[in-house]
């Protein structure tokens, strides 16, 4: 195995670091906006009749920011583990993670724009899709890391015997 990421893997590292940091920036702005709505007691966001909007937008902010961090973590993982096996799955992992990073907060946000009393708007349909993408990405990445762990430990044993 190579000690440095392949150029293809480097592409993914860069993609997720960029996406992660920009996501953090975007959802930082959203967080600041929500705080401003709080600060000025804007009824459109805070009234009891808008409780669903408030919840959905809070969830959008929280998921967006968290997934930004997950993207950064994924990018850093790919760089720290250049021997990450399952290289062929990287496009799927990366695409699923990016899709999740868009769909989850977008779904929550859209479902708070128009909603039905205690039920979020139809935008909420994006959320389970995003959740599925995230589950796929995390599962494949976890499996790859686990496989790497087995490979690394085996290699060490072999090297000791040698």
């Amino acid at each position: 195995m190579s000690a440095t990421p392949s150029s293809r893997q480097s592409d993914y590292v860069g993609r997720h670091l960029r996406f992660g940091w920009w996501s953090l920036f975007v959802f930082l702005l959203l967080g600041a906006t929500l705080e401003t709505l709080h600060g000025f007691k804007v009824g459109f966001y805070l009234d009891a009749s808008n409780e669903t909007r408030r919840l959905m937008w809070t969830l959008a902010h929280a998921h967006g920011a968290l997934l930004g961090l997950v993207n950064i973590a994924a990018g850093l993982s790919m760089r720290a583990l250049p021997e990450l096996p399952g290289d062929g799955r990287l496009p799927l992992i990366s695409t699923a993670l990016l899709a999740a990073t868009v769909l989850l907060p977008a779904g929550f946000f859209a479902s708070g724009v128009v909603f039905y009393s205690g039920d979020p708007g139809v935008g909420i349909a994006l959320v389970p899709v995003g959740a599925a993408c995230l589950a796929i990405a995390v599962f494949l990445l976890a499996r790859a890391v686990t496989a790497l762990s087995g490979t690394s430990e085996g290699g060490t044993e072999r090297r000791r015997r040698g």
Binding site: A3, N50, V122, S152
Partner: protein, 651 residues
């Protein structure tokens, strides 16, 4: 060389400070939980009615998660707080070692014991000699009313039976007053103060799905021999009072696909009743189940309701299970005759002689007799409760929930002429042509002429909910004050009759000398029955009427009522008197000692005579001579014509 990844190989070992922090936080959490007052399960409460979820009622807490907006506006309404358990949050009066003098008999002593409220007072159930009447000490467990009054109910100690404290707390005035002083009743009469009265009577309309659950009918035997196991679905008027039991609705809507189908389709959900989607008759009956004068059609119906709750459910035909008293329609029915036989004042205590309701809280009766409801043929042009009121403040309504609740839950914009002009558009196009008043004046407000303050309740005048037109004939023949003279307090019935004839071609009725020459409000105030006096006294404090009629001349007339036999009339007169410049700080206790009241009235009259107000008006209609002196002899002559028949208005 293969680098070993510390990420892969490392094992988590919490650092000591983090572990200490975790243990500390846990300990704090446990300590906080232990310091909370233990929550007493409702089912274990034995000395008051309890809330139970049964018969498919699920309670408002279940509704809240899916309908937060509707829940929030209901939660801010006085419907929710119609009946509450007595807690430090719900009790508005001070119970901290307070002595209340304003009760019958010896003073009532109030005491706070932790979060409990206790009262010591004369035993109302004592049947021996009055001088031997013992004192009893009871825990206050429930409250009815939260807008104008707190009525406190104590646990009698017999099963779940409640009785009422001898004093009522007036919220706006921040004072206690005798229980029967807050109703318009002759001295010594008024509402019953019996063990079990709340359980048997009040429960029907002050709770959601109440079940009296007496083992034998109330008053059929001494209550100490009866079992009283009263339950409710919810204290106060909650969601299911108007929407019906919601268990099926909750179960069906666990399915998100069903919910979104309903959201996007716009069709009504058949598992729940939405009153605003009902036709005007049925939707108004939802309100009318409580806001009406009704009785059980027969004893069997009452027994069944005692055991299983009232059978009416929103959307049902109300009259299928209730007798709604409507003298104009069913005055001669067997049921009405039976009610009158049992209580000869049943009709007079609630209705004007022509059958229109005259007490508050019975607005559905008023609606039934309104032509906009009774004679309407098109549902979309039929008046209903929801034409003007809404049970949930809309997000577009700029008022706060508290403001909306405080103004009778009138819909946004419906506190003005829009309520009427939504159907009567041509009148709105040229308002003065119809009203003969300036368009911005209170005389051009539809409500003031067509829903005047001719109902009584809660120590004030209430707008009639029967839509009528001003009529001097009704004032003469029925005694019901007319809208013109409730505002133009300084004018005679003849003056109003002339204008109504000129403007609307109304035939002028035959008037006696006083009706032609003395201001109508003075006649109601001096010679009217207690109900008329109360309405007139309230109008003397009504700002639009004061602006039109002036106030300088009112003092001797309101002063006269400070000595009225009826507590409620005295209370209202004093309140109106305090709105007149110079009398804001009038020292007068309507429930106080009679001699003190007389002295206060004399003092007010003296202050008026010695001030500049006395000679401000010289109108003969107000019984002033040309020199501005008051014709007390004429006052006495009119006073001597007073209708002194006892009157108890059953609000």
């Amino acid at each position: 060389m293969i680098r070993r990844s510390p990420v892969v190989r490392s094992r988590f070992r919490p650092p000591v400070p983090a572990a200490a922090l975790l243990v500390g936080a846990t300990a704090l959490g446990v300590a906080a939980a232990l310091s909370l007052e233990p929550i007493v399960p409702e089912a274990s409460v034995e000395h008051r009615p309890i809330a139970v979820s049964e018969d498919d009622y699920v309670s408002s807490t279940t509704c809240r998660s899916c309908h937060p907006s509707q829940y929030a506006t209901w939660h801010g309404s006085f419907h929710r707080t119609m009946t509450q358990v007595a807690t430090p949050e719900s009790v508005r009066a001070d119970f901290d070692a307070i002595v209340v003098e304003a009760v019958p008999g010896r003073p009532m002593r109030l005491e706070r014991r932790g979060d409990e409220f206790w009262a010591e007072f004369d035993d109302p159930g004592w049947e021996g000699a009055p001088r031997d009447r013992p004192r009893i000490t009871r825990q206050v467990v429930m409250i009815t009313g939260s807008h104008h009054q707190n009525i406190y109910w104590y646990a009698t100690g017999h099963d779940r039976a409640l009785n009422v404290l001898p004093g009522v707390y007036l919220l706006e005035e921040d004072r206690w007053t005798p229980r029967n002083a807050v109703v318009l009743a002759p001295p010594g009469q008024g509402v019953a103060m019996l063990d079990g009265h709340w359980n048997a009577v009040c429960i029907d309309c002050h709770t959601t799905h109440g079940k009296t659950r007496f083992d034998t009918p109330f008053l059929s035997e001494p209550i100490r021999d009866q079992a009283v196991d009263t339950t409710v679905a919810e204290l106060g008027i909650a969601c299911e009072a108007c929407h019906g039991p919601a268990a099926a609705h909750v179960a069906a809507n666990r399915n998100p696909l069903r919910r979104y189908q309903l959201h996007t389709g716009g069709a009504p959900d058949p598992t729940i009743v939405e009153p605003t989607r009902l036709d005007p008759q049925r939707s108004s009956q939802v309100c009318g189940q409580c806001h009406s004068i009704w009785e059980f059609p027969d004893a069997a119906g009452e027994r069944a309701a005692s055991a299983g709750g009232l059978p009416y459910r929103p959307g049902d035909e109300l009259r299928a299970t209730r007798f709604v008293a409507q003298p104009r329609v069913n005055g001669r029915s067997d049921t009405m005759q039976a009610l009158i036989a049992a209580d000869p004042d049943f009709v007079r205590g609630s209705f004007w002689p022509d059958g229109l309701v005259r007490v508050s809280g019975r607005e559905y009766n008023g609606l039934l007799d309104s032509p906009c409801f009774a004679d309407a043929t098109e549902p979309e042009r039929t008046l209903s409760c929801f034409s003007c009121h809404t049970m949930h403040k809309t997000p577009e309504d700029p008022r706060t929930v508290a403001e909306w609740a405080d103004t009778h839950q009138v819909s946004a914009g419906m506190d003005g002429n829009a309520a009427c002009t939504q159907c009567h558009a041509p009148i709105a196009a040229d308002l003065p042509a119809h009203t003969n008043h300036a368009p911005e004046s209170t005389g051009s407000r539809c409500y003031n002429c067509h829903m005047p303050y001719t109902s009584y309740g809660l120590l004030r005048a209430i707008r009639s909910h029967t839509v009528t037109s001003p009529s001097v004939r009704e004032s003469v023949e029925l005694g019901r004050p007319n809208a013109c003279n409730l505002c133009h307090l300084d004018r005679t019935l003849a003056w109003s009759a002339d204008h109504l004839r000129e403007w609307y071609a109304q035939p002028a009725p035959r008037l006696d000398d006083n009706e032609r020459s003395v201001a109508a409000s003075i006649l109601w105030l001096l010679r009217g029955d207690a109900g008329q006096r109360a309405l007139a006294a309230w109008s003397y404090g009504w700002e639009p009427a004061q602006e039109v009629s002036g106030t300088s001349w009112m003092v001797p007339y309101l002063g006269e009522l400070l000595g009225d036999r009826y507590d409620a009339v005295r209370f209202i007169a004093a309140r109106s008197l305090r709105t007149i410049p110079g009398f804001e700080t009038l020292q007068y206790d309507f429930a106080g000692d009679r001699q003190d009241r007389i002295e206060a009235a004399v003092g007010a009259l003296r202050a008026w005579r010695n001030g500049s107000l006395a000679r401000a008006r010289r109108d003969p209609e107000l019984l002033f001579g040309v020199d501005g002196t008051l014709d007390t002899a004429a006052m006495r002559r009119i006073f001597d014509q007073r209708d002194n028949r006892p009157l108890f208005l059953r609000e």
